[in-house]
Symmetry: C2
């Protein structure tokens, strides 16, 4: 079975996000003064071939831990659906 995973990798709350800070500043310059606290991470989609959803979930978790997220600075979460 094929599954589609949608993964979000975000900088940890305790860690300064300079890219987000810069974009928050740009929002003000564009007149979007109502927008604050921008934080920027990664959105990753991928396909997994696995016998069932639990197996797919484990593969995606392994991929996040080994490659997609740096757990010292980032957290991740994901959703999986059959396709």
């Amino acid at each position: 079975m094929n599954f589609l995973a949608e993964i979000d990798v975000m900088p940890l709350k305790e860690i300064l996000d300079p890219q987000g800070k810069a974009v928050t500043g740009s929002m003000k310059n564009l007149g979007l003064t109502e927008i604050s606290n921008v934080r920027i991470g990664k959105h990753i989609t991928l396909e997994v071939d696995a016998p069932d959803e639990e197996a797919a979930r484990q593969k995606v978790d392994e991929a996040c831990k080994k490659l997609l997220a740096n757990l010292i600075m980032e957290s991740y979460d994901f959703e999986i659906k059959a396709i």
Copy 2:
């Protein structure tokens, strides 16, 4: 009222995603051969101060169009919730 927006900005399907291609290759090298078709975009969270959800939605849409997404190469979608 304050709203939290969760925005995904992804490279358009028609456009080659070299970062995703490289990560797909790395998955194979790590033994995660079941994973394919990795695509990498941005996940952005931000807060909006607006009188109601419809107004917040308009502000976020404006922010995406003006600053967060490059509509020639990327598409975006977002969800909003009151916080």
